[in-house]
Symmetry: C2
Subunit: 298 residues, 2 copies
Amino acid sequence: MAKFDMKEIKIVDVQVQDIRFPTSLQAQGSDAMHKDPDYSCAYVSIITSQTDLIGYGLTFTLGRGTEIVCVAVEALSFLFKGQRLHNIYTNFGQFWDRVTNESQLRWLGPSKGVTHLAVAALMNALWDLWAKIEEKPLWRLLVDMSPEQLVSTMDFRYISDVLTKEEALEILKQQRENDIETKIERMKTRGYPAYTTATGWIGYSDDKVRELCAKYLTLGFTAFKIKVGINLEDDKRRCKLMRDMIGQDNLLMVDSNQRWDVEEAIRWMQGLAEFNIYWIEEPTSPDDILGHRAILKH
Amino acid sequence: MAKFDMKEIKIVDVQVQDIRFPTSLQAQGSDAMHKDPDYSCAYVSIITSQTDLIGYGLTFTLGRGTEIVCVAVEALSFLFKGQRLHNIYTNFGQFWDRVTNESQLRWLGPSKGVTHLAVAALMNALWDLWAKIEEKPLWRLLVDMSPEQLVSTMDFRYISDVLTKEEALEILKQQRENDIETKIERMKTRGYPAYTTATGWIGYSDDKVRELCAKYLTLGFTAFKIKVGINLEDDKRRCKLMRDMIGQDNLLMVDSNQRWDVEEAIRWMQGLAEFNIYWIEEPTSPDDILGHRAILKH
């Protein structure tokens, strides 16, 4: 018998904490646009009527302004308090729509900036809660969902000209037939594939990059990201150093954190081509789709 | 002699007020996505060392969540306090860049949502202050600026693949030669051209729309906007009513406030074509540039 019965459980409170870490002291997290970030978070706890059932979610920030996200979480919390979990999870996509399209708050940008970050922490906490109710890790909750359940958690309004709900369903059905049991076994034995960014923050000395590459190679990493974008000659030196450390068979990626305009991005990446870069993250404004296409074509 | 000397004046404080109006009580401001807005604002006052010189700016909200924008203004205010006005206005574009790219706060989305709204109120207050120092209305401050000064107030980083600073400069120079004095005279005698949205909120009865059309025609308006997007048959009736009231020579525009996906937008606007709609505002997600192009082509 299941430990928790969704029909009986209500959300009784939403709490949020402003948690900051002084990572800027050692240039951890530093990149071409954020030279001194204090990697921090707004940490949300969704408290239920079942005292041993709490959902946790967080949204990432760079320090200053985390209090703005916390106030946004508080402003959204009235939509969560008093709700029965059963009503939320039987139509999760509709609940998401209710939260992001609240008729007065949506003006502040439901899919943008501060309220977007606040919604992310809250929805992450709901996903965490769902997995706990089902007594599974979150990845297994998702894998065990039917394609119909999965698409019901999403809102297709603004992407239906590119991908309809029916098309998404068809893709998921095909994927499911494609040897799902082997994939589940691999997740259980090998875990998530991951790359590391920890070796290449822009404020790190060459010696520190070398030392960290050695450490993460030993840990089994096969993909490494390095921050670029302030000075091309520095970037060439650092990419060479990284490539020398990790060898030709491992993957090397770069991230300029929105630093460039479109032409500069093309020129810069041509300058780094010899290091066999797997991909570039945020070469320019993340909203400039046509700009990204132009960069891709070069 | 000028009343104010920029070199002497500093910003000593930034104050922000959360001001709300219960417009939802009479459906004022209602549209297809915001059925009960309380048209409100975060109201910013930039206090200077010159007691009779204060800059005012506001950013518009729909009620709930205005407190989030106020907290964002407070979070940004350290960038303003203590600044000499001379340093701000001699390189306004650079100051804007400093505010929107503050290394920790920019993570929250400098050109998105809550922080975007907060920056807007603060920068509007700085423009108001500038006009007061020059003892001119703001439009005249802008008109009197040289093309070089105007482009220096802007940041071209993310649009340089479409419009460079040099191209913008060239456009402004050509415009300036194009009979600027006549245009200034027209502004002085006739004021700003404007359209009205006040006649067509979606929650208004047909009788109220009729009454308001008559009123705004008397006031001299020649362009009218009506909210659409919930029900096509209702929209046809309301557009016909509006067109009958304002006649064929005045302009009629519609606004669906992001209600539709791309296909629905095309179908709906074809349904309203007979009313000779001048333009449609926000037919779908405001960020979907390719979607807007697809709608335009139909």
